[in-house]
């Protein structure tokens, strides 16, 4: 199998499953972590991720189809989604990011409306696929309807954009919010946006205007 991506906690391989192009996500043992703690976390995250992906798909979020799940091997086999990651997309697309950013916003909105927090929404975990924006890597996702948790999701998006894509951060964020508000409603979007600022203000040494 071909190594697709070496992530921090998992390696992704490209292979075949029952004749279909598939991604094998293997959560490798992290040697710096105490083995007893490591095994528990890897097993938990594998099961959890599979559950959440299934739930997200039912809710209408574009996520990969699941083919096979094995907690003992910390392995998930799922559909291969073609297309660049948002990170690469933003680095190469110049200014034409409006539609994609909006689509990203509505995907996250749909996810939140279904009571799911992604928990790791960096631009590496978003694929700009043919049918639209796909969300991947639900290893840190949780079932939650709390505004606080939804705002934590948005905070990471903002943190990643400002941290790694500072030139386009403001415009991507603005289109993102448009798409997000279309799904969750203006009132809810404002509430989450307000909470986001509150969380930033809580940050150490923060002064948010």
């Amino acid at each position: 199998m071909k190594l697709l991506y070496r992530g921090a906690e998992a390696d992704l391989f490209e292979g075949e499953w029952a004749g279909a192009e598939a991604v094998f996500k293997f959560r490798k043992p992290l040697p710096y972590r105490l083995p007893v703690l490591d095994e528990e976390i890897r097993g938990q995250r594998t099961v959890h991720e599979a559950e959440i992906i299934r739930h997200a798909r039912t809710a209408g979020v574009r996520v990969p189809y699941l083919y096979y799940v094995s907690p003992r091997e910390s392995l998930i086999v799922m559909q291969f989604v073609g297309g660049p990651r948002l990170k690469a997309f933003l680095q190469t697309s110049g200014k034409e990011t409006g539609e994609v950013s909006k689509d990203f916003g509505s995907a996250v909105g749909t996810l939140h409306s279904a009571g799911i927090m992604h928990g790791d929404l960096t631009t590496s975990n978003v694929i700009v696929g043919k049918g639209g924006v796909h969300l991947i890597d639900f290893g840190l996702a949780t079932h939650t309807v709390k505004v606080e948790d939804q705002a934590v999701d948005l905070r990471l998006i903002k943190e990643t954009l400002v941290g790694a894509h500072s030139e386009v951060a403001a415009s991507v964020m603005s289109s993102f919010f448009t798409g997000y508000a279309e799904v969750v409603g203006e009132k809810k979007a404002k509430e989450v946006g307000k909470k986001l600022l509150e969380i930033e203000r809580r940050g150490r040494y923060a002064r948010v205007e």
Partner: protein, 334 residues
């Protein structure tokens, strides 16, 4: 144009009052410190620490200049830690620096303490533009340089790693900073007690960990085992988000700085993690991982060279001053 530039730096953000002289050509000439030690069971009381600082300020500054081998007249600029830190402590450093600036007739240069940790670390280790894990009593942050600023890729949502260790230590009667005694206790145990492992996206949180750890101690679990478990759990979360940031940025260097960087178990875990990536791992020498005048003097020298100074009447202190809002003219020029 002078052949060499020499900057005196004053650090006083928390428990350490320190002065250092650096030279553009020769690097660090000296680093003199006098550290406030709180009574057993206590943390740093800001006023008490500032009284200590005020008492030692002139002695430390004089000793720094004497041991540096240069005279007062050879000092080209005076740098001070403008923030972030404890207000009363910052004020003592600022007053000392202002006084020296006025009496020597040399410019005053404000320095951000966190930037100081990073720039001194880069100078000492040879790192150029590393991904930085900044871990101390005041910070727990993963940052990388981009477009003129250190950008935060992940940080703590509540306590810093230093505070976590201090709160654990104080719970059993130690005085801050407790890091070393906790490391010693942890090294005597291999019995892991499950504690909350909290990673949210690229951020960490230790409030649940400290509450659970204190409960374990109150329930009679051996202190050594709790220390071991706290270190294993909390450090693993910090290393996990650092690894995420490393994978995300693809940076070829990782540097760890700040007081908690002195912990050997943490350095070991980071070393193992970095070994899985094609990145070079820089650990700041033990003597300079924690707070010191050298971090202020060296960063002050970089800032001064790129034209940064502040009139005395405007030289305020900033208790809250986030790292990702500090302009870095010398990095833009480089």
């Amino acid at each position: 144009m002078k052949e060499d530039l020499r900057v005196l730096g004053i650090e006083s953000t928390a428990h350490t009052f320190s002065a250092s002289v650096v030279s553009e050509k020769k690097g660090l000439l000296c680093d003199v410190r006098d550290i406030y030690a709180p009574p057993e069971g206590s943390g740093i009381h800001p006023t008490e620490a500032s009284i200590h600082h005020a008492a030692v300020a002139s002695k430390v500054a004089q000793e720094a200049v004497t041991t540096s081998g240069v005279g007062w007249k050879d000092i080209d600029a005076v740098a001070y830690a403008m923030g972030p830190g404890l207000g009363p402590c910052l004020r003592v450093g600022a007053v000392t620096a202002r006084t020296l600036s006025l009496s020597l007739g040399r410019p005053l240069v404000p320095v951000n303490h966190a930037v100081g940790h990073i720039e001194l670390g880069c100078m000492l280790t040879g790192a150029v533009s590393p991904l930085v894990l900044l871990i101390s009593g005041g910070h727990t942050m993963v940052v990388s340089y981009s477009s003129g600023m250190w950008r935060v890729l992940g940080e703590t949502l509540d306590l810093t790693l230093g505070q976590l260790l201090d709160q654990l230590g104080r719970h059993v009667g130690f005085a801050s900073p407790c890091g070393r005694r906790i490391e010693e206790a942890a090294s005597r145990s291999h019995r892991y007690l499950r504690l909350p492992y909290t990673v949210k996206g690229n951020d960490v949180s230790f409030s649940g960990t400290i509450t659970a750890a204190k409960r374990l101690i109150d329930a009679g679990e051996p202190f050594d085992d709790v220390c071991f478990s706290v270190q294993e759990t909390a450090f693993a979360t910090a290393v996990e988000v650092t690894e995420r940031a490393l994978a995300f940025t693809g940076n070829s260097e990782l540097m760890v700085v700040g007081g908690v960087a002195a912990n050997k178990r943490l350095a070991e875990m980071l070393g193992v993690m970095v070994g899985r990536h094609s990145a070079k791992f820089h650990v700041v020498p033990l003597r300079y991982s924690g707070d010191c005048g050298a971090q202020i003097a060296w960063t002050g020298l970089l800032a001064y060279k790129s034209g940064s100074s502040i009139p005395v009447e405007k030289s305020v202190i900033r208790q809250s001053w986030r790292l990702d809002t500090v302009p870095l003219p010398w990095r833009i020029a480089a």
